[in-house]
């Protein structure tokens, strides 16, 4: 049986805050990059901050209801990191006017990791309710 403690809740709040900071850093980075992009922008770079904000910060707050194990947190973190890197690289390519098939690897990997996290959470919830 998995016990969800106040320490777990504290860890989740810390994660939520860290992802919020990460989102802010990405916003700042985009603002600085735009200064050198000669007026060209990319939706992928512009909205890269949404990934840690939604999948990181907001999801961490939602998980206060059910908790999150260390391994699940690690998988979620890997997913977010991969998606953010992919979004950033896609943005750099678009601003430069390039196309790259390699960037899709990041998105596919990030999505697979996220679904992996989801499966872990579902299995845990089933075990908890069993």
């Amino acid at each position: 049986m998995i016990v969800y403690t106040s320490a777990d809740k504290k860890a989740l709040l810390k994660r939520a805050f860290r992802y919020l900071i990460f989102s802010a850093i990405l916003l700042l980075f985009h603002a600085i990059y735009s200064l050198f992009a000669h007026g060209v922008d990319s939706i992928f770079m512009k909205f890269a901050f949404v990934i840690p904000l939604v999948l990181g910060s907001i999801l961490s707050l939602l998980l206060l209801l059910g908790g999150e194990r260390e391994i699940e947190s690690a998988i979620r973190q890997m997913s977010i990191s991969t998606l953010v890197v992919g979004s950033f690289l896609k943005g750099v390519m678009e601003i430069a006017g390039n196309t790259s098939s390699l960037v899709s690897v990041f998105f596919i990997t990030g999505i697979v990791l996220f679904f992996g996290w989801l499966i872990f959470v579902i299995i845990r919830l089933i075990q908890t309710n069993a």
Binding site: H38, G39, V40, D41, E70, I71, A74, Q77, M78, S81, T82, V85, L89, V92, M93, A96, G97, N98, T99, S100, L102, V103, V105, F106
Partner: protein
Amino acid sequence: MLKAKKMFLVMFVFYMILFSFSSFTMLYEFVIPHGGFYVEDPTTTSTTTTTTPISQTTSGSGTLTDTITTITSTTTTTSTIVYPDQLPTVLSNGTILGTYENDEALITIYQIRASNSDVFVADVVVKDAHTILSGLAYNTFGGTNIVQTVSTMATEHDAIFAVNADYASHYDSGYVIRNGMILRNSTSYRNAIALYENGTVSSFAESSVSINDVLNDGAWQLWSFGPVIIKDGVSVASVNDGLDRDAVNNPRTAFGYVSANHFMFVCVDGRTTQSHGVDIEELSGIMMSLNCVQAYNFDGGGSSTMYFNGEIINHPSEGSERSVSDCVYIRR
């Protein structure tokens, strides 16, 4: 404790792989030359003795192979070239930087001022559209990071005049015809412009035509970058066309068509206090003032480079020439 160590090791390995693959992706897309296939230069000879029709031989049937031999044409003529149209007023008031004339081409380089920018205009009249040639970096098309400066390509091709073109290798798709050969037959969302063997020019949406039909109609060059800025005498350029780069002042290169075998190649300086650059509508205004009835935007920004008689005429915005994948040139 052991579990935490394992977790740390897994995360460490993951981030090492992520960093390595990210670095490889950036290097692969921006630094490492790769891909592409070799394209031979067309050979053109000219004498001043007799006049004979152009004979053309092609190898292959427009199918891509590892090595493609382009059209060989032999042109002989004795006539001098007469300027066919009225000189645009804006050029009459401009500064002539240089001229060149032989049996095949009459080139006059002007410098004018427009939209707070220095504008360099190559007023080109040719006897035959085959005089307008395409050069490829290292004679290679379709690769990534296979680039040379316009001046290097011009020197290698013994060009009197050269200007950067549509950087066709930059994209993965889009029609490309160079020196009468199809180099890429995949369609894109872009509008293309074709220079035909009879010296005329037309633009069209790539999705609306087959490249084989375009070639069969006599296309000698086909460029795929855009947008089209003048079509049939009407400006069609808009800063609201959905492309950020078209709405912002930038250095630009453009190709214009005045009448059969009469063309304007334009480079606008930008990103400096001396020259602010132009947006796509201002560029259209410049091409209209040059009496162009068809005009097309080439690759701009740091790529905008005009070469004439051994020198770079304009002022590339990065302080030196940017290496690009292709150029348009006229041989000495």
